[in-house]
Amino acid sequence: MTLRGRVLADVLNDVRTSFLPLEAVFLSRLEEPARILKSFGAAILSKNHITMAIVNVGVELAVKAISPTYGTRKVYGVFVTIPGFEIEGTMEFHGRPDLHALLVTNVERFLPILNAQAVMTGRPESRFSGELIFINRDFIGLFSLSGEVAQG
C-alpha cells in the first residue's frame, strides 16, 4: 500500500473513501496462513470488511508519534474479541480510560492495539502477532481492560 506521506492509521480512518488500493497482493487462507493461494499485481480492499490489520514491524509508519502529555498517559492491558479471533495487547489512554468514548463517540473506526497477539478461536495454535494490530471497531464483540501496565 502506498501511504503517500500519511500513516496507516490515517489511511484506514479516512472517511472519504471506503476502499484501500493495494499493490503486490498475496492471498492466503486462514486455515493455511503460510501457503500463498493467489497473487495479484494490484487489488482493492473494502475497509468495511477488514476485521483487523497486523503491522509486523514499523509502528512509526502506522500511527503518529504521540506527543508527551505529562502525567496523564497510561498503558492498559486489553483483551478484545472479533469474529474468529481473540486479541490481547496494550492500549494507551490519556487520563482515565473511557470505553464508551472509545467505542461509541470516537470518530476513528480502527483502534490500535500495541504489542498485540491474535489467537484464532477455532485453532488456538494459530497465532499472529505484531508491534501493532488495528481492530475494526464495528466487529468488536467484547472489549475489556485488564488493568494498568507498568511502563519500564
Binding site: 503486490a24 496462513p33 503460510a34 501457503r35 509486523n56 494459530s126
Partner: protein, 367 residues
C-alpha cells in the same frame, strides 16, 4: 569466490542486497522471477540462495520445493528473507526445508551474520569427519588391535577419535595405557550433553582421543538411536572417527554399520571366523547395507595351521582388502600399552596398517 543468488521480486531490495553483499566480497547474482530463480540455481550452483516467499506466479515455497527436489542442487543452503513475519510463516519455511529464516526489514549486520553462519555450517558439513568402523563378530580376531593402530596412524593425518564401542569391557584403554574412569555409556546416561562430551574424552600423548567403553559390560537395553547423534558430534570435532565396534549386529551394532563411511570386517584365518564373516556379510546385505562400503581384512595371517588367503577369498566370494601378518610382538605391545604402530613402526603390522590408512585417507581426500 563465494556465489550467492538472490531471488526477490522487489527490484529495489535486490539492488540493495546486491550492494551489501558485494561490499562483503561475495559474487552476487540476482533475479526477480521465481521460475528464473529455479533455473539459475541449477545453472550457477551457488553456495547460498537468498529467497523471498511472496513472489508472483512462482512463489518462494515453490522455488524452495524445486531446489530440494533437484538432486544437483538439493543441498544448497537457502535463507528465506520475507515480509511474512508470522510464526506460522517461519514454521512453514523451515518445514519446507529452508535452512534459515529472516523477516524483513533486515539490517546489514543481521543479514551478514546469518549468511556467514549458513556458509560456515555448509563448510563444516562438507568437512565432517569420516567414520571408520572395525567389526569382528568372532572374538579373538584382533579387531581392537587393528582399530587402535589405525586410529593412531590416522591421528597423524588429522584430529582423530577412537570410540571404543565394545560391550565386553573394551580393551582400547589397555592398548593405549589409559585408565578410563567413565565411558560413553555414562555420558549417554547423563543426558548426552554436547558440552559435557569433552569430559568423557581421554587424551593419548600421540594426540589421539579415546571415548572409552564401559568397563562393566552393560546389562540393560542400549538405546541405538543415540549412536547417530553421538557420531554427528564426533564428526563435527574430528576428521576421523574410528569405531571399535560391538561384537554384535543387534540394534546397536547395526546402527554403527548403517552410519559408518567405511566398514572393515576383521577376521582371523580359521574356520570359525570364516563362517562368522560369511554370515555377517549375508546379514549386512540382508538389511540393505551397501556392500561397497564393506571390506574384509584378514588379521593374524600365516599363523600356524591357518587357512590361506586364497581359500578364504574363495569362500567369501570376494577379495580381501588387506592381509595383516601375525606378529609375535603384539602380546608385548598390549602388556606395555604401546601399540605396534608406535613401538615397531617398520614392522609388518605397522606397514599393513599404514597401507590401510593410506586407503582411508585417499578415500576421504581424493587426489
Amino acid at each position: 569466490m563465494t556465489r550467492i543468488l538472490v531471488i526477490d521480486d522487489d527490484l529495489e531490495l535486490l539492488q540493495m542486497i546486491r550492494l551489501m553483499l558485494e561490499q562483503d566480497g561475495y559474487e552476487v547474482f540476482t533475479t526477480a522471477d521465481g521460475a528464473d530463480g529455479i533455473a539459475k540455481t541449477r545453472q550457477l550452483q551457488p553456495d547460498l540462495v537468498i529467497l523471498d516467499l511472496m513472489m508472483p506466479e512462482v512463489d518462494g515455497f515453490q522455488v524452495l520445493q524445486a531446489i530440494r527436489n533437484d538432486p544437483i542442487v538439493s543441498d544448497t543452503p537457502v535463507l528465506v528473507l520475507t515480509a511474512r513475519a508470522q510464526p506460522v510463516d517461519r514454521e512453514a519455511a523451515l518445514a519446507a526445508r529452508a535452512d534459515d529464516y529472516l523477516a524483513k526489514p533486515v539490517s546489514h549486520k543481521e543479514l551478514r551474520d546469518r549468511i556467514r553462519e549458513l556458509l560456515n555450517r555448509r563448510r563444516r558439513a562438507g568437512e565432517a569427519g569420516h567414520v571408520v568402523l572395525f567389526l569382528g563378530l568372532r572374538g579373538g580376531t584382533g579387531t581392537t588391535t587393528l582399530a587402535v593402530n589405525t586410529a593412531l596412524a590416522l591421528a597423524r593425518s588429522g584430529p582423530t577419535v577412537l570410540w571404543d564401542a565394545s560391550l565386553n569391557s573394551g580393551h582400547a584403554g589397555l592398548h593405549l595405557r589409559l585408565a578410563p574412569r567413565s565411558s560413553w555409556l555414562d555420558w549417554w546416561e547423563s543426558g548426552r550433553s554436547p558440552v559435557e562430551l569433552e569430559n568423557y574424552l581421554m587424551a593419548h600423548p600421540s594426540g589421539l582421543r579415546l571415548l572409552p567403553a564401559p568397563l562393566v559390560p552393560p546389562t540393560g537395553m542400549l538405546d541405538e538411536t543415540q549412536v547417530g547423534p553421538t557420531l554427528d558430534l564426533l564428526r563435527e570435532r574430528f576428521a576421523f572417527v574410528v569405531v571399535d565396534g560391538p561384537a554384535t549386529l543387534l540394534p546397536i551394532g547395526l546402527a554403527f554399520c548403517r552410519l559408518a563411511d567405511a566398514l572393515f570386517l576383521v577376521m582371523s584365518p580359521e574356520v570359525g571366523a570364516l563362517q562368522t564373516t560369511v554370515m555377517t556379510l549375508r546379514a549386512l546385505q540382508g538389511v540393505g547395507i551397501s556392500m561397497e562400503r564393506v571390506q574384509v581384512v584378514l588379521n593374524h595371517a600365516a599363523g600356524p595351521g591357518t587357512l590361506t588367503p586364497q581359500a578364504i577369498e574363495r569362500a567369501l566370494g570376494r577379495p580381501l582388502l588387506l592381509t595383516i601378518p601375525f606378529d609375535p610382538h603384539q602380546a608385548t605391545a598390549l602388556v606395555q600399552g604401546t601399540p605396534l604402530i608406535l613401538s615397531h613402526p617398520s614392522g609388518p603390522v605397522a606397514s599393513a596398517v599404514q597401507r590401510l590408512v593410506g586407503q582411508i585417507v585417499s578415500a576421504v581426500r581424493p587426489l
